[in-house]
């Protein structure tokens, strides 16, 4: 039992968004009626509005990535629940630019349907709307899963790269193509040694015996298909990185972007240790991570776990990744 510091379970998300907008008033604006966050500053050359969204509980994603060089708007749903099509529609109207609006959608049925309904409304309104579907989770890559791979940690990298590309003035067709290509070379794998606590009850979403971990978790507290003994972090990272590299097969001259991501309640001490191990795996295989991020970027409330994301950066992708960004959660 671990009670949340909240006025009510229903108030958790709107209260946080009000505070978030107050804390970052120089960067973002929050519309509490229609439930979306917009950027105060965008590059003048940007022709396409970038919009993302999904359930809350993954902070700093998505609202934390609204700002110059990244998202023009984000619509957070309730905890782990898709935003309503109305939020997405209204946010899209606010974010659309001369060449329309691009939706960056994680592959979940609810998100796909609600973003899809909003896209039909936008089309009826004469606004061009395209979609980049993020489905980077290697653990859900199975013939038996009809819904396909889940969208997880790689989303932040995709949003950053598309932000740089949008600032460079790419049109909506080029951005859609680029985003789809980037996703196809990005995979994530996550593990957890304890579930998150539910905001409504304060209880853990599931129990794990001490010394065991879930291998292949998502970001909604769903269990993995495998439970295994918790071994040394070196052996664990070797397994995870090995699986990602076997899938991605980067060429020796291809730059790799690495993300070591905390899922909510793993310490920095651990995350840097994990990054060190990942570096050794890549060194041993002759792969040098060209860029990296270490920290909490895409969380699952207070799940005790982490994810590894590797992204093989094609031509120009690294330049878009390096382009300036100034958002509440990402800045360079």
């Amino acid at each position: 039992m671990a009670r949340y510091f909240e006025n009510s379970a229903d108030g958790l998300v709107p209260d946080a968004l009000s505070g978030f907008a107050r804390a970052h008033a120089d960067l973002v604006e929050y519309d509490p009626v229609d439930g979306y966050v917009t950027a105060r500053h965008t590059a003048p050359g940007r022709r396409v509005g970038l919009l993302s969204g999904g359930g809350s509980g993954h902070e700093p994603m998505h609202a934390g990535y609204v700002g110059a060089g990244m998202l023009d708007a984000a619509c957070p749903g309730r905890v782990f629940a898709s935003p309503h099509n109305r939020q997405i529609y209204r946010a899209s109207l606010a974010a659309a630019r001369s060449d329309g609006v691009l939706h960056i959608v994680k592959n979940y049925t609810g998100d796909r349907i609600n973003f899809g309904i909003a896209a039909e409304r936008l089309a009826d309104h004469g606004i061009t709307c395209k979609r980049v579907l993020v489905d980077d989770d290697l653990a859900s890559d199975s013939e038996e899963i009809a819904a396909g791979r889940r969208g997880t940690g790689g989303t932040v990298l995709v949003e950053k790269i598309l932000g740089g590309a949008a600032d460079a003035g790419l049109g909506i067709e080029e951005l859609t193509e680029l985003g789809t290509a980037v996703v196809s070379r990005c995979r994530t794998l996550a593990v957890a040694s304890a579930a998150h606590h539910a905001p409504s009850t304060g209880e853990r979403a599931f129990d794990l015996p001490a010394g065991e971990l879930e291998y292949g978790v998502g970001i909604h507290g769903e269990r993995a298909d495998r439970t295994r003994p918790q071994e040394s972090v070196r052996a664990l990272v070797e397994d995870m990185a090995g699986a990602l590299l076997d899938e991605l097969r980067p060429g020796t001259d291809e730059p790799v972007v690495a993300l070591v991501n905390g899922l909510g309640s793993v310490t920095s001490l651990e995350l840097y240790g994990i990054f060190g191990e990942l570096g050794q795996v890549l060194d041993a295989r002759g792969i040098r991570p060209a860029r990296h991020l270490v920290g909490d970027y895409v969380t699952a409330l207070d799940m005790r776990g982490f994810s590894l994301t590797l992204l093989v950066a094609g031509p120009a992708v690294l330049d878009f990744y390096d382009a300036p960004v100034h958002t509440p959660a990402l800045r360079w």
Binding site: H84, N85, R86, Y89, G110, R112, I113, N114, G116, I117, A119, E120, R121, D124, A146
Partner: protein, 221 residues
């Protein structure tokens, strides 16, 4: 000769009768959805027609058929949770577009329902046979297309209603691939899809409100 068309008043009358049908059958829709879904479909559909009623009242007596159907679209898209309710909104959105100009003709009905069906299929990724509202909307669209030309809209809608009820019957024989019903496997076979029933109610209400589902459902529902 002018093509027979629903004007604003006739379109509004149809929508009010649809609302009456939904209110009258809410409990039956809920009972159906408790067996195959989340159990919230009756409530969501009722919330949709209630929100639409407020918008139709605010629109006044001068609103044309396109504005009237646009009010329905806004209500179902903006105010309803779940998935099926907003999908009805997409149907109304397409009908509103096809009714702009000369009123709602049988050609406009065919065009609007086909466009609405296409949008719903794009969004929901559902095909005929998946035990969804698509299974009632697809035969209704075909019936409307077959009836187009100079057919009066009320006659075309009556044919669409017959086709939609047949589609409802057919969903009872299917197991589900989409939504929560898809986890229930063979246990939902024999039970018609509530979303498909909602579609049939819409078309059937053109002739008059439906007071109970029992006569229309296989095995008494």
């Amino acid at each position: 000769m002018t093509t027979p068309a629903f004007d604003g008043t006739l379109t509004r009358d149809w929508m009010h009768r649809f609302a009456d049908s939904v209110y009258a059958t809410e409990a039956e829709l809920t009972a159906l959805d408790q067996r195959v879904g989340d159990g919230d479909f009756g409530t969501n559909l009722t919330a949709g027609v209630r929100a639409a009623g407020h918008l139709l009242d605010a629109g006044g007596a001068e609103a044309g058929p396109s504005e009237t159907l646009g009010c329905m679209a806004t209500a179902f898209l903006d105010e309803i949770g779940g998935t099926s309710g907003p999908l009805f909104g997409l149907l109304f959105q397409a009908l509103s577009r096809s009714a702009s100009g000369n009123g709602l003709t049988s050609d406009g009905l065919a065009e609007g329902v086909e466009q609405g069906l296409a949008a719903i299929r794009r969004v929901g990724d559902a095909a005929p046979g998946d035990k969804t509202l698509v299974d009632a909307l697809t035969p209704a669209a075909a019936a409307l297309r077959g009836a187009s030309g100079g057919t009066p809209p009320d006659r075309a809608l009556s044919l669409a209603a017959d086709a939609a009820w047949q589609g409802v019957h057919d969903t009872a024989g299917l197991s589900a691939r989409m939504g929560r019903a898809s986890y229930l496997g063979e246990r939902v076979t024999g039970i018609p899809d509530p979303g498909a029933v909602g579609v049939a109610l819409l078309f059937a209400s053109a002739a008059g409100p439906v007071h109970t589902l029992a006569p229309y459902l296989p095995g008494g529902g």
